[in-house]
């Protein structure tokens, strides 16, 4: 080709094309930033999804309430997913994949049997995590911070706000499950029924002001040793009543 060995005038090329090169570079940079932002967010979300809730120490478990709720609550899908996670973890690598992939109809039957077996054989301590995840997913728990006196918005909370025409909500307005974080202390131990109190807000004297009251059964305590003095804990339960400066909550589980 006649001009093949000629030197390209790069200065001329840049002087003509630099605006388009700038547009091109800016566009490429924007694509990289958009893809990068999305990738980072996706990675963070995947990481958060993979990271299971760090198990707290189960301090108290009312087993009957847990199992009744579990069985009656229709949390089969949650259980199924949990079973799949556990089944996947137990059958490793490509063999596990192949066996799961090629099971087909037989797989669905196996799963139903497995779920059924799991429901009938599961221990409360094994299902409480699934139960809490399922309640959260269904927007069925109001998370409350007793010290800051805040609660996370859910449908039930929004409904309470609207009903009262107020931006704030009182705990006794909630008739669903609550998960209350606070600083608890044992105050009574009446014949096998330990009572824990936690102050509203963060008073210097924990005994001052309104209190949250939780009455437990002795046999629900996972450990005979009860911490002395105030301790941080989270109580899952249902609000019962407001009585003489105490908000009574019926506990299902308490975690530390």
């Amino acid at each position: 080709m006649p001009g093949a060995d000629a030197v390209i005038d790069r200065g001329l090329w840049w002087s003509v094309w630099w605006p388009w090169v700038a547009v091109w570079a800016l566009t490429a940079l924007a694509v990289v930033v958009a893809v990068g932002a999305f990738a980072l967010a996706w990675s963070a979300r995947a990481r958060a999804a993979r990271t299971r809730h760090v198990p707290e120490i189960t301090f108290y478990l009312h087993e009957k309430s847990v199992m009744d709720l579990y069985r009656a609550g229709g949390y089969g899908d949650a259980l199924r997913r949990e079973v799949e996670v556990r089944e996947g973890a137990s059958t490793e690598g490509w063999f596990g994949f192949a066996t799961r992939f090629f099971r087909g109809h037989r797989r669905r039957t196996d799963e139903r049997e497995m779920v059924s077996r799991y429901i009938t054989t599961a221990e409360p301590i094994e299902v409480i995590g699934v139960l809490i995840d399922a309640l959260d997913a269904a927007d069925g728990v109001v998370h409350v911070d007793l010290r800051n006196q805040t609660m996370v918005r859910t449908g039930a909370v929004a409904a309470a706000q609207e009903k009262e025409g107020s931006a704030t909500v009182r705990l006794r307005q909630l008739d669903g499950y609550v998960s209350v974080r606070g600083v608890f202390r044992m105050t009574e131990h009446n014949g096998g029924r330990p009572v824990f109190l936690a102050p509203f807000g963060d008073p210097d004297d924990p005994g001052a002001g309104p209190q949250l009251r939780v009455e437990c059964h002795q046999d629900g305590l996972r450990d005979d040793e009860i911490p002395e003095g105030p301790f941080h804990a989270r109580c899952l339960g249902k609000v019962q009543s407001w009585n003489s400066g105490e908000l009574v909550v019926r506990p299902i589980a308490i975690f530390q």
Partner: protein, 394 residues
Amino acid sequence: MSVSTDPPFRVVDRPLSVYRRKRFLVPFLSATAVALVGVITLFAGGVVALPFDRVVVIRGKMASKSDFFTDPEVQRILMGYGLQVTVDKAGSRDIANGDLDPYDFVFPSGQPAADLIKDRRTREHRHTKVFKPFFSPVVLATYREYAEALRANGIATPQGPLYYDMPMPAFTAQLGRFAPWRELDPSLRNDNQVTAQTSDVCSSNSAGTYLGMVAFAENGNRIPQDEESARALARKVKPLLTIQGMPGDDMARSYLAPNGQTLAPIAVIYEHQFLAHQIRVKRQTGRVDDRRVLLYPAAQLQAVPELIGLDEAGDRLGELMTTDPDLRARALELGFRVFEGDDPATAGEFSRFLTGAGIPVPTSGIGNTETFLPPLPLLELMINEVGQCPVPTP
């Protein structure tokens, strides 16, 4: 302790999902918007593949038309199409007789040289495609005092502030007197014989065209019909052309030089070279160079340069030269007359442009009387007779 009611709780929102947080949404949405606008812009501009596009270097050989391709603005316009044109300069007839293989296109300044090239390519069964982007008459450029001397002796007639009409028979008659300029006008103080200086007739189209004009005028406005009469006519006009002695190299450059008056009182150049100078001076100083004027041979011969594409790249350049509005506009700015559709006179754009640039519009150059050149073989014979041209090496 008695509290009438349980304390109120402030309602806070659940932490947003990662995809709904400002820290993600702001950079993601703004980057996406910029990317979207950028992609649309790049597609609309047809430059999506810009970093991967190669610049095509097109090599051409030409004479005076190299002024066009060495113009920085023309280079910019062509680079906008991904083209870079490199030019080798040579006389039009040298182009016709030289090696064409290294080139993508050639651009001889006139018909005779172009015909030589086309005939040769046809004989060799090689690709040839012809484009005629613009044209420019051959003119005699001189200085006002010399033009006035011719006018005073009834040889030239002024038309417009920068131009004179000049019948060639009157001029060739003056040439045949072999008289000095001083004889026409003592104030000129020039003892050189009245003549028009040209480039080498063996290589230059403008010189060959001038030879044809002089021969036509000396032959009673007739062209020779055979070799014998052509040779005789050439011998007759030879003295009128060799008065100048050694031919010049680049006549426009000599004429436009500050001391051009001593180098070439009358120079045979193309109209576009004169007009480009006037446009430049007008832009720089606000006034035309009224010291320099043109003599238009009354019987005009239009020099139509032909861009001959020798391959695909050359053809691409030819297409652009004839169709691209920016290149056509630049051709006007450089003094060329661009072809406008089927109108061979192409006076419209040219006149409008010159008027807009503050340059007087010549009314000559497109008259009804034409000079005819002899058939190519006879013209070649005459050129060789006058110029004693060396035989081209194969």
